[in-house]
């Protein structure tokens, strides 16, 4: 564990940025946004950004391959380059955990080399949540925001900045931070950890349970009548999907360029009418079926395929961005019945 005065935060950011590309959440009137650091930018005071930082590993649009057409010849141009190390600074526990969920999809055979490249080079400095938001429910999914995963963990209290280096990748920060941070005891952040744990107990959604849901329970929920009611006024937009840190479906398309073809992939949403479109059309013809897909994926299908792990991290972004205010908490409560999903 290392520490420095909190007022040294700008110096810490500046020092890291001299060695690595640095990204951090920055406050705007409209909410916080993860973006590239430049001198003078300060760390957001918000719990969460509007969009999750998953795009640094799984961008909304990325080129997979370029085809160049020259007369009758066609050349294939591979855009992949070994990434350089970069730092994502100030990621919350929920967002860090979401990467473990994406890893199980993209890093299992066949490995997604585009994603793997960024994961290998991304150094994650997570940040403990001293003031969890009213919409947070990460503890429902076993996440501890007083001790997030990550290559290094940042704690900020009134006067002091603490940095707990957890991995070899995290230790790469020690060179830039030499002379700025000094050694300290692990237990210096215990007070803050305890305060966070006390605060978590008082959150409005603190008693939300996942007991009803788990792997292999498809038949228990698939034919439930609540899907029709819950999705009745769903607009079928992709807001929830695109702000979600764990949604990872994508589409691959070809785009005609001046001298060839650019094959790109982009985020897709199961809420869209043309999602998984095949020659006969979309296998899910009604919005209620598309809506069901999204929540069954998070609460049943993903756990079924991934050792019982849920693909929601309780960040609360969908609670804030849905135009009709429908969200996974309401779904869990409606499906769970008394004493289960219910509080």
């Amino acid at each position: 564990m290392y520490k420095t005065a909190k007022e040294k935060l700008p110096a810490v950011l500046d020092a890291i940025s001299r060695y690595f590309s640095l990204y951090l959440p920055v406050d705007y009137e409209d909410g916080a946004v993860f973006e590239a650091y430049s001198y003078g930018k300060t760390l957001s005071s918000k719990v969460n950004t509007v969009k999750s930082p998953k795009e640094y590993f799984f961008p909304q649009t990325e080129t997979l391959v370029n085809f160049k057409v020259d007369g009758k010849s066609l050349s294939i141009i591979d855009p992949r380059r070994e990434s350089e190390d970069f730092v994502i600074f100030g990621m919350r526990a929920c967002d860090v955990k979401s990467l473990a969920i994406l890893d199980r999809v993209f890093l299992s055979d066949p490995i997604d080399t585009y994603y793997e490249n960024r994961r290998r080079h991304g150094i994650i400095v997570s940040m403990a949540c001293s003031k969890p938001a009213a919409t947070c429910f990460c503890t429902t999914f076993g996440i501890d925001p007083s001790e997030p995963d990550g290559d290094a963990i940042l704690y900020l209290d009134k006067d002091t900045l603490y940095l707990n280096i957890k991995t070899e990748k995290g230790a790469k920060l020690l060179t830039p931070l030499q002379g700025i941070i000094v050694d300290c005891e692990q237990n210096e952040v215990d007070t803050q950890k305890n305060l966070i744990r006390e605060r978590l107990k008082k959150l409005p959604l603190s008693s939300l349970q996942t007991t009803t849901f788990s792997s292999g329970k498809t038949d228990d929920f698939f034919s439930s009548e609540v899907w029709e009611t819950l999705s009745d006024t769903c607009l079928g937009c992709g807001s929830c999907t695109y702000v979600c840190p764990t949604c990872h479906c994508y589409d691959i398309k070809d785009f005609k360029t001046a001298d060839g073809i650019r094959r790109f992939r982009c985020w897709d949403s199961c809420m869209f009418s043309d999602f998984t479109q095949m020659s006969h059309g979309n296998p899910r013809t009604k919005q209620s079926e598309r809506f069901r897909q999204r929540f069954m994926h998070k609460l049943v299908y993903y756990p079924t395929n991934h050792d019982g792990i849920f693909s929601c991290v309780g960040c609360g972004r969908c609670l804030k961005s849905c135009p009709i205010n429908m969200n996974i908490v309401k779904v869990m409560k409606a499906l769970g019945g008394e004493g289960n999903g219910k509080q």
Partner: protein, 330 residues
């Protein structure tokens, strides 16, 4: 204006259900938090009593849902309409998007809805909100109770409300208001005063934040095509994300052109945008230009009116005049 309470509305709606005047009620349903109100259909007095809400967070315009609901062919449906919602209601009728005789429209008064985004900007830990008229008391987890000026928590569309008058209803709860002298074109004028480069940069910055979730289109009461060109794989423009940097601009510009003369300026596009892009300003520019060149026209003010761009009048502005873009006309 008499304050419309939830209980008055429940009692009214339940009465109409009991008398079988309507078979169901399209309204707003209470959620987990102070602000997460969901549009919902209620079928009984019990459902209404258990979940119906009418408070500062019922911003959602319910009129577009009438297309889907009336198609169910299940008797008459009651719908609650705030003044601005009634303009969308009329416009949808003008476009023959649902049969009027299958709807019972109950007009409800509105003093402006609160913007939960603005409340969260003050504190992310708000757990309850109390409306005290000119101020709002918010209870937070860490900062105690804060008293905030209500006016500052209104979204742009309510700060610059164009009308408190219901232009359509079968029955009105509370006394009707008036069409207001709103200053809603102020922001448009600011944009017009910019140089072309500045304006380009403004929209470039705003629209490049678009994540193509399509919420603006999906909520828009003027966007009622059965199959949107942007969802049609045969159209050549149906990309789900920006394949190039013009993509999201094309989407918004095409959409804005498509709703010209039909957009009532209800502001739902900006309310639902997760990126908080001021999309309504694109539409307002068109509305302002139409007012300048063809005389004041408010879409949805009456049923059956012909929008200036689909109507011919010998006094219409010459195309050459329109080509100046309106920046030289006030």
């Amino acid at each position: 204006m008499q304050k419309v309470t939830k209980d008055i509305l429940i009692s009214k709606a339940a009465g109409l259900l009991d008398s079988q005047t309507v078979t169901r009620v399209l309204g707003w349903k209470r959620g987990e938090f102070y602000d997460d109100v969901t549009p919902a259909v209620f079928h009984s007095r019990e459902e209404l009593e258990n979940g119906f809400v009418f408070d500062d967070f019922c911003g959602a315009n319910l009129s577009k849902y009438l297309i889907k609901e009336t198609a169910k062919d299940d008797g008459k449906i009651l719908v609650f309409l705030k003044p601005c919602d009634t303009y969308s209601f009329n416009q949808l009728l003008t476009e023959r998007r649902f049969p009027r005789d299958k709807v019972y429209a109950l007009g409800v008064g509105c003093e402006g809805m609160l913007d939960s985004r603005k409340i969260r900007a003050v504190s992310e830990s708000v757990i309850s909100v109390r409306d005290l008229g000119n101020s709002v008391e918010v209870e937070t987890l860490y900062d105690g109770i804060l008293t905030l000026d209500r006016q500052t928590l209104l979204p742009d569309r309510c700060q610059r409300c164009k009308s408190k008058k219901h232009v359509a209803f079968d029955e009105l709860i509370a006394t009707d208001g008036k069409i207001l002298d709103s200053n809603r074109f102020d922001e448009v004028e600011k944009l017009e005063k910019m140089t072309a480069d500045e304006r380009y940069r403004f929209w470039q910055e705003q629209l490049s934040r678009c994540i193509r979730c399509n919420a603006c289109r999906d909520v828009c009461p003027a966007c009622t095509c059965e199959k949107c060109v942007f969802d049609n794989p045969d159209s050549g423009v149906a990309n789900k994300a920006c394949a190039n940097e013009f993509e999201e601009k094309m989407f918004h510009i095409v959409r804005a052109f498509h709703v010209v003369g039909r957009c009532t300026d209800c502001g739902e596009c900006s309310r639902v945008c997760p990126q908080n892009i001021p999309l309504h300003l694109l539409n307002r520019k068109f509305i302002k230009d139409i007012n300048t060149f063809y005389g004041t026209y408010q879409a949805g003010e009456t049923v059956g009116s012909r929008a200036p761009l689909v109507d011919y009048n010998p006094d219409d502005a010459e195309p050459s005049e329109v080509l100046t873009g309106g920046t030289h006309h006030v």
